[in-house]
Amino acid sequence: MRDAFVRALMREAKNNPRLVLITGDLGFGVLKPFWEQFPSQFINAGIAEQSMVSMAAGLARTGRTVLVYSIGNFPTLRCLEQIRNDCCYHEADVKIVCVGGGLVYGSLGMSHHATEDMAVMRALPGMRVFTPGDPAEVEAVVPEMLRTPGTCYLRLGRGGEKCVHESPIPDYHAPQALVLREGTDTALISGGGILTQTWEAAAILEKAGVSCGVVSLPCLKPLDTDTLMTMAQRLRHIFTVEEHTVIGGVGGAVCEAVAECGIPVQVHRIGMPDTYATLVGTQAYLRAQYGISAERIAQRVMQTLHG
């Protein structure tokens, strides 16, 4: 996803000299093509996230679109107040980009796990939250995000994910939810890089005789409630899937929307429980341990539907 991001960004930077990318001293091997091709549009702010975000707001106030790039919680939690006061309150054209949403940096430990970021970013007034599920969605979302005025958060996974979408997504407009497959028994609603596991889980369920739809949310805030409610009103159970705690992220957003629509559907939130990952292991290992591997997702759906 991060490579898709850089590719999409470079296409935009070519046409927009007022686009600036700031990194918090991260992106080795990823951002190199950008800084080589657009040296005057690139700044390394050093390991100083708070002033990096203030700086981004200041730059944006001179009429620029400014992207701030870092990993894990560094571009969000470390500088949350700068995002709130300096960016969101000023409607500054700053795009916060996080690589490593979820458990991507598995073995590096909990400091590097971004498992509350969607909830926190979603809570900020004026913030739009983009949570693409695969590289194709990243390429579709980046130009849309850059067209969107004001402060945005872009949550990326890692590098080298498989594409779930078989072809590029034409003409994406936020907050459109993308229906990847229809199902008559239930549906999985996925936000972020966990889409690969969600997609595989649906295949497992299909083999087990459960007709399961899959919806990806490249944009979590605002939420495409129309698409979700149209689908949900035909179903008795829907499942949200996220690589994030079950509080305030994809599950939280969908529950809020469903509760206000008066549709008699039960929402089941699949994600990290309200905890930090204390186990050590790869992203795949931790996903399995915390119930968000394809197999564990499918199991949870089967148990819920069939007891």
Partner: protein
């Protein structure tokens, strides 16, 4: 030419004349007006922070009468200088200066803190012409100033960015992050002014987190440092002009001030970081200020 302490602007720059004066008002008059408005505003609103409003009065006065290139009739003029008040709690001082410079009617100052007003206690840009940036949480302004100065330089503009900070604010780590960045990017049109009133929220700075030697700290970060009496308008003007002319690194002026300056019983008393002037105390403060009317 190398800067030596006590040098005048003309000596430093070899120029035989100073740049044109942007406003005819004497900075002493402006400083008095800021205090007079500040007293009235905190009295009417039962608001706090009068000590900081009074310590920063001459700094704001010199900036808005002698230094900043701004257009009251065109607040968004692209080539204007940018002033960011990082110590947002002294917002009344900027509101007063802007009103006196004609950015909005002076009568508006009476709405400070009031329901439905735009003039919040901590400075906000929403609906207030001339306010560049909203602050209130300390340690944000210098980083914003770094980004602003970078952007203006990218646009080839000669505009300066001035960030007025508090000394207690220098406890914040983000200030020093921004110091590293300002120096790294050689932002010589970035000027910081520290309103060094030597007091913070609960006590004197030196009893809290000792800052001295503050000038050496900035110098070690690669900034061009001047230290002046922050109530001496001529010294402030001279230092600001030198900072504007200085090339190669960002500048900081450590302006030594007195918290509560101008009203005897408020000076150097931490109580007046919070206390609102009412009743006898308001009357006494008013008498003292009126006796100083220029």
């Amino acid at each position: 030419m190398e800067y030596k302490e006590g040098m005048s602007y003309t000596e430093y720059t070899h120029l035989s004349f100073a740049p044109s004066v942007p406003d005819a008002m004497d900075p002493r008059v402006m400083a008095w007006l800021i205090r007079r408005h500040g007293l009235e505003m905190t009295h009417l609103s039962r608001g706090s922070h009068i000590g900081s409003i009074f310590s920063v009065a001459e700094i704001m006065a010199v900036l808005y009468t002698r230094i900043l290139r701004v257009r009251p009739d065109d607040p968004a003029w692209p080539e204007r200088d940018r002033l960011i008040l990082s110590k947002g709690h002294a917002g009344a001082a900027v509101y007063a200066a802007l009103a006196e410079r004609g950015f909005f009617p002076v009568e508006t100052l009476r709405t400070h803190y009031q329901n439905g007003s735009h003039l919040s206690g901590h400075v906000s840009h929403r609906g207030v012409p001339g306010i560049e940036f909203s602050t209130g949480s300390l340690g944000h302004g210098l980083g914003v100033g770094v980004g602003t100065a970078l952007g203006l330089r990218m646009d080839g503009l000669s505009s300066h960015t001035v960030v007025v900070m508090g000394d207690g604010e220098c406890d914040e780590g983000a200030v020093w992050e921004a110091c590293l960045q300002g120096h790294q990017y050689a932002l010589d049109r970035l000027v910081a002014v520290v309103d060094h009133n030597h007091m913070q929220s609960l006590d004197f700075c030196e009893n809290t987190l000792a800052l001295e030697p503050l000038d050496d700290k900035f110098r070690d970060f690669g900034w061009f440092v001047q230290r002046v009496d922050g109530h001496d308008v001529d010294a402030l003007e001279n230092a600001l002009r030198i900072a504007y002319a200085h090339q190669g690194t960002p500048s900081v002026i450590i302006a030594d001030t007195v918290k509560g300056k101008g009203v005897s019983f408020m000076e150097n008393d931490i109580l007046w970081h919070y206390r609102t002037p009412q009743g006898e105390e308001y009357e006494a403060a008013l008498r003292e200020l009126e006796a100083q009317r220029p």
